[in-house]
């Protein structure tokens, strides 16, 4: 089979650009939406995954899947701090951060309504364990005071959480003394308070924590650490690598966004396929004499099918590229959603990555293929003699 030259398709597409516009725009729209949804899911996922460190372990009550359901006592924390693999600071203190996790309703600017925000009760150890978190303005909490450090997303997402602001919740007034930046991770959406003060405010026993995050001597130390915890009869806890824990946390929502993305894109895709089909079909009709001429010259039916499929795919590729260009500015755009696992709002940025653009282009080609197949077969089946009679 000898292929009909590519230049024929390229120039024909250009010559008939008006007619091809429907197909190109349809496919571009679908690709843009598809890639946008995927980059939303990707952004959400990366935000949570970035929150964890492979050198950290998060310890919760056995069977708990989120910090909300978990309780760890102060005695247990002391035992955990003595386990092998736990790193220590210069003064020899174990790098162990017992934390209390509560959810509070703050005024969400974007929706102008209350939204649930994660509030974490911590001690000074928190910054040594969560290495990605930096205080970028103000200072860290002082023990025993009703002070807050707001994540940079939380501080902009909710009204009244700027540096020096004095928000009220839990029946007392607080003072924001610092803003923290964790480089886009989930901590940016959190508000941190002194653990004993937070526990008192929410009328919890001061010795009960939600979770413990432990800095390990190395990522490889997790195995020994876990085994030691499991074999200790005083403990009924489980330890997970922090990165795994956050990856698991992100799964539900990112999968939901992804499934939604596929659904929306499929429904729109059907429309775009019809657009492509229509375009190609009328193109075949309009170029019946050209096809018949090529057949008369000796090009076979298979060459004609190939040529028309190439043209359909070429049109789809143009649409796909256009869709990708349109969706690029979405990259970095921040938004927030409810994280089902922690039942609180989390801010994240769209991440338009090359592999997602690749998926978008692939989707465009699939639409072009499906839309072009019947017209291509029709082009090849067209009776040559009668097509030549048409003027």
């Amino acid at each position: 089979m000898s292929p009909i030259p590519l230049i024929y398709n390229v120039r024909s597409v250009r010559a008939r650009w008006r007619g091809n516009l429907v197909a190109v725009l349809g496919i571009a729209g679908v690709v843009a939406v598809f890639v946008a949804m995927l980059s939303m899911a990707r952004g959400f996922q990366l935000t949570l995954v970035d929150s964890g460190s492979p050198s950290n372990a998060i310890v919760m009550r056995g069977g708990a899947t989120t910090e909300m359901e978990s309780v760890v006592t102060r005695e247990q924390i002391q035992v955990i701090a003595g386990a092998p693999g736990v790193a220590h600071d210069e003064e020899g203190h174990p790098l162990v951060s017992g934390e209390v996790f509560v959810v509070a309703a703050f005024h969400h600017r974007a929706s102008d309504s209350d939204a649930l925000a994660p509030v974490r009760g911590v001690s000074e150890q928190a910054l040594k364990v969560h290495r990605g978190v930096r205080i970028v303005s103000g200072r860290f909490l002082r023990p025993g005071l009703a002070e807050l450090v707001a994540g940079k997303s939380a501080s902009t997402m909710y009204s009244g959480f700027g540096l020096g602001d004095t928000p009220s919740f839990g029946g007392r007034t607080w003072r924001v003394v610092g803003i923290m930046d964790s480089g886009g991770s989930a901590f940016d959406s959190e508000v941190w308070a002194d653990q004993p003060v937070l526990s008192q405010t929410y009328k919890r026993p001061e010795d009960l924590f939600s979770s413990v995050t432990v800095r390990l001597t190395s990522p490889a130390a997790l195995g020994d650490f876990k085994r030691a915890l499991a074999s200790d009869p005083r403990l009924t806890v489980q330890a997970d690598r922090e990165t795994d824990y956050y990856a698991k946390q992100s799964r539900a929502v990112s999968t939901m966004i992804r499934v939604l993305g596929f659904l929306v894109a499929s429904v729109m895709g059907i429309g775009a396929v019809f657009g492509a089909f229509n375009t190609m079909y009328s193109s075949v009709a309009a170029r019946a004499r050209e096809i018949a001429t090529l057949r008369a010259l000796g090009f076979g039916g298979a060459s004609v099918v190939l040529s028309w499929m190439v043209e359909a795919l070429f049109i789809a590729l143009i649409g796909g590229l256009l869709g990708c260009i349109v969706v690029l500015p979405v990259n970095g755009l921040t938004t927030s959603t409810l994280n089902w696992q922690s039942f609180s709002q989390i801010a994240f940025a769209f991440r338009v990555t090359p592999d997602l653009l690749g998926k978008g282009l692939l989707f465009a080609l699939v639409m072009g293929f499906v839309g072009g197949l019947l017209p291509a077969l029709r082009a090849a089946r067209m009776p040559v003699a009668s097509a030549l009679r048409e003027l």
Binding site: R14, E290, A296, L297, G301, V384
Partner: protein
């Protein structure tokens, strides 16, 4: 020599050719028991009233359509039983088509149009270029290689079409009213080219025309009447056409 009976040595042999179209539940008998033999290097013109089946005959000879009955043999190959892909391959090797409306691909340059049949051969790019240049030179359009069809006059377009038809050195040329859309001068140029191809290069040329002046250029003029061919410039009952009613016009 062209003959309307069977000739075993002829390049093209047509035997008892029937073509019937079905239209609206009725059979339209266009060709009925048509016989023809054409020797190599002959220039034959077909005439006949509109609807008499001239285009139908050329399409059958060129393997673009299949007869209802009868056989067509070209250079010893019986083409009426070839399958689609084989027929396409046969066309590429043996037939050069020239159409009334030129049928150049509008998005390709003269060069690219003429090159098309060579893409079906094993020739290298450089060889193809030489062949295309030779063919365009032969029709006097060496200086128009990069022109698009819309930038050419009708006569020039038809000459490009002739170059395309001859570039792969086919066994014979089929021309359906090649001058039907041209003014006198352009028509004469095209006819001079076609008769030159026959006389100088020994090409077999079969041409349908309505124009008696065009037909004069051919060595033989055949008339299509009542679904069969008769020789000479007059139509009469002495032709070897069938006795049944002629194809309606």
């Amino acid at each position: 020599m062209v003959r309307l009976d069977d000739n075993g040595d002829a390049l093209i042999r047509v035997r008892d050719l029937d073509k019937t179209y079905r239209r609206g539940g009725q059979d339209v008998h266009v060709l009925r028991g048509l016989n023809l033999s054409v020797d190599e290097g002959e220039f034959v013109a077909f005439m006949g009233p509109s609807g008499s089946g001239k285009t139908t005959l050329l399409n059958l000879l060129g393997g673009l359509d299949l007869p209802t009955a009868g056989s067509i043999t070209v250079a010893g190959d019986e083409i009426t039983h070839l399958s689609g892909p084989k027929l396409a391959h046969w066309r590429a090797r043996h037939v050069g088509f020239i159409f009334q409306m030129y049928n150049l691909l509008p998005v390709l340059t003269a060069f690219q149009n003429v090159e098309l049949p060579l893409l079906l051969t094993r020739l290298s790019k450089a060889q193809r270029r030489r062949h295309v240049e030779t063919a365009l030179g032969l029709v006097g359009l060496k200086d128009r290689t990069d022109y698009y069809p819309r930038q050419l006059s009708g006569g020039q377009e038809q000459r490009v079409a002739i170059a395309r038809a001859i570039v792969a050195d086919p066994t014979f040329l089929l021309c359906d009213e090649p001058t039907g859309d041209l003014d006198r001068r352009s028509a004469d140029e095209v006819l001079a080219l076609l008769s030159g191809l026959a006389s100088r290069y020994g090409k077999t040329v079969l041409m349908v025309t309505h124009d008696p002046r065009a037909a004069e250029r051919a060595e033989v003029v055949l008339h299509l009447e009542k679904g069969a061919l008769v020789e000479g410039t007059t139509s009469g009952p002495e032709g070897n056409g069938p006795t049944s009613k002629p194809a309606e016009t």
